[in-house]
């Protein structure tokens, strides 16, 4: 059975070019970049090249790039550092739809005496910048807002938000794990202090991430140890991972606009045809302000896990915001923050595409999904029994 992989916001395939670039660093050039001898030291030079490739994708300077182990580490390091840089300030602002790497850390910080404001979003998942402005106080140490949402793809106006934060003397961090490589980012055009990025979401391997730290930003490392990354992140470098991430960023930067347009065309076709073929379905998240690869669709009267498992039988990989995939009995915090009715939230499916998806794969899903929904609806006690006009709230 062929795998139709449409779960790229969860993780993505390592690009062949990336794998080829990495391989020599496992067996041939295995030296420690910190060594005095040429055998190790030369690897250090390759790491500098990768740093340049990452900086190229972000419009940053190479010395603003710190390699980490993952997006979660980058988020933790950024938030902890911003707080230790301003020991007198005890207030943090995030949104209600942040990734757990930010949300869970901030809940923990509440137990350490910090005050956390979670900004709401509207029914399209859009952030109210005026509300952000009103929430900023002289006590606010940090604003951390994601660039692109992992579940809906909705894009936050982080560059404007960074302006507002700076006006009130707060630092600004963004989790750009989903946005990097999918939409253009140029750190020269904004005031964002720190940005997190993860390798495996943009066709590099798992186990490598980046924290961008703007020049002049006070930084306290999360991991203390060796002098690696100029003392900003202790620990021997994940050399193959870093080389791979450099290559992946170089690839992502090439023709970013045309590749995004290709993915967007497939995504839009998938959405349009599914919505046309399946009654009582809808898109979650703002139609315009979205990452080009993400489609979050709700099918009323059916449950997400059941849809996923039936698609799984056909080799189609996607995810769901349904409660039953998490075991928590509550549907996704993102959809709840958007006020998506429970009847819709339970039956939500996220398709996230990449440049490796083809038109044939999209057509396959368009052909196979409607009968699955139909079959599950036939089994559902609510289907056709309720007056549709009162079912959609």
């Amino acid at each position: 059975m062929k795998t139709v992989y449409m779960d790229n916001n969860a993780t993505s395939k390592v690009a062949d070019e990336v794998l080829q670039a990495m391989l020599p660093y496992f067996s041939e050039f295995y030296g420690n970049p910190s060594s005095m001898h040429t055998f190790g030291g030369r690897v250090g030079r390759e790491i500098q090249q990768a740093r340049g490739q990452v900086a190229g994708l972000l419009g940053a300077e190479p010395d603003e790039i710190v390699f980490t182990s993952c997006g979660t580490e980058s988020d933790n390091a950024a938030i902890r550092s911003a707080l230790s840089a301003q020991p007198d300030k005890k207030h943090i602002i995030i949104s209600r739809v942040e990734h757990p790497a930010v949300r869970v850390l901030c809940s923990h910080l509440e137990t350490e005496g910090y005050r956390v404001t979670q900004l709401p979003v509207d029914k399209s998942g859009i952030l109210d910048l005026e509300l952000l402005d009103k929430s900023l106080t002289p006590d606010t140490a940090l604003v951390s807002l994601m660039w692109g949402n992992n579940e809906t793809g909705v894009i936050f106006p982080v560059e404007e938000a960074a302006h507002l934060a700076h006006d009130k003397g707060a630092m600004f961090h963004t989790d750009a794990v989903q946005a990097a490589g999918k939409i253009p980012i140029n750190m020269k055009n904004n005031l964002i202090d720190m940005l997190s990025l993860s390798g495996h979401k943009l066709h590099a391997p798992k186990g490598v991430g980046v924290l961008y730290i703007r020049r002049g930003t006070k930084f306290t490392p999360l991991l203390l140890g060796g002098h690696q990354e100029r003392g900003r992140r202790g620990g021997t470098e994940n050399t193959p991972g870093i080389i791979g991430l450099g290559k992946a960023c170089e690839l992502a930067a090439q023709n970013l606009v045309s590749k995004s347009a290709y993915i967007k065309r497939l995504r839009d076709k998938l959405e349009k045809e599914l919505l046309a073929k399946i009654p009582q379905s809808r898109i979650n998240g703002d139609i315009e302000n979205r990452l080009p690869n993400t489609a979050n669709i709700s099918f009323e009267y059916v449950e997400g896990e059941a849809i996923l498992l039936m698609m799984n039988e056909l080799g189609i990989c996607a995810s769901s915001g349904s409660a039953c995939t998490s075991g928590s009995l509550q549907p996704s915090h993102v959809l709840r923050a958007m006020g998506v009715p429970f009847t819709m939230a339970h039956g939500s499916i996220r398709f996230s595409l990449s440049v490796y998806n083809t038109e044939e794969e999209v057509d396959f899903v368009i052909e196979k999904l409607p009968p699955i929904i139909e079959r599950l609806r036939e089994m559902s006690p609510f289907w056709k029994r309720e007056d549709p006009s009162c079912a959609i709230q």
């Binding site: 449950e303 896990e305 409660a323 039953c324 075991g327 009995l329 429970f342 339970h346 559902s380 006690p381």
Partner: protein
């Protein structure tokens, strides 16, 4: 990844008894769209007051659909008394087990069955003296107490996994914790002591005479206890059972199952001379 057994997957992909019986004898609906799973159960009785047919419609995850399918298969052919003795654990066991966080799916089946039988008998829907603890999912103190006792639950999280209580707004977590604490303090029934051989044989005899034979006679069959060798119970089939091709299934699914439950889980049943 789904930690489902092949049997769960099979019942999810090819569910038995989907639909609704017209003019059913009993009908019940539990759960709601808001909670993420709901089950509508209908059944019809035959002239002997046994469940002739049972059908379901379920909105929910794979294990909710599989549990509903399993439930309808289990209860077909049972009297209402027998059906009421089916526990959520029986449903889970029939499916080869369910992941912990999915046990509430089997509990939903059990609740629907009880409610449908109450509906047939015209009895009140809420147990006498029961109080709703979890407003979000309408779970009563009696239901929580029963699941805590039957499944030895010790944390609020476990109670949520089994009953869904506390899975919504969370304001009832303290009340659930109090129920767990209260039941912990209760004197627990002594664990079944190891039976002497004589006690075991007597219990086997009693179970066969009081529970198994009356049920078999109902269908014109009968059974006689021949010998007990260790945990092997040797019986002879009589009446209709003696000539019935399906008597082997009856021995395994009903006679052995009942003896395992009532006397000791190690028991196996064999037919004389086979």
């Amino acid at each position: 990844m789904w930690d489902y057994t092949d049997k769960v997957k099979e019942h999810f992909l090819h569910p038995r008894n989907v639909g609704e019986i017209e003019n059913p004898d009993g009908v019940a609906e539990v759960g709601s769209l808001a909670c993420g799973d709901a089950l509508r159960l209908t059944f019809k009785l035959d002239e002997n007051q046994r469940i002739a047919d049972a059908k379901f419609k379920t909105f929910g995850c794979a294990s909710a659909i599989a549990s509903s399918s399993a439930l309808t298969e289990i209860i077909k052919g049972m009297t209402l008394e027998e059906a009421l003795r089916v526990t959520n654990r029986d449903i889970a066991r029939y499916l080869g087990g369910l992941p912990d966080e999915k046990m509430h799916c089997s509990v939903m089946g059990k609740q629907a069955l009880e409610k449908a039988i109450e509906n047939y008998r015209g009895a009140p829907a809420l147990e006498a003296g029961a109080k709703i603890i979890c407003e979000c999912f309408g779970v009563t103190d009696k239901e929580i107490e029963r699941d805590v006792r039957e499944n030895n639950l010790t944390t609020v999280e476990e109670v949520t996994n089994f009953t869904k209580a506390g899975g919504g707004c969370g304001t009832c977590h303290d009340a659930i914790a109090q129920i767990i604490e209260r039941l912990k303090a209760e004197p627990r029934p002594e664990a079944k002591p190891r039976l002497t051989n004589l006690q075991k044989i007597r219990m086997i005899e009693e179970t066969i005479d009081n529970e198994i034979r009356p049920s078999l006679r109902h269908d014109g069959g009968d059974l006689e206890l021949i010998d007990v060798v260790g945990d092997r119970v040797i019986v002879a089939t009589r009446g209709a059972c003696a000539t019935c091709k399906a008597s082997g299934i009856t021995l395994k699914n009903f006679v052995e199952h009942t003896l395992k439950e009532r006397v000791a889980p190690e028991i196996t049943v064999e037919e004389e001379g086979k």
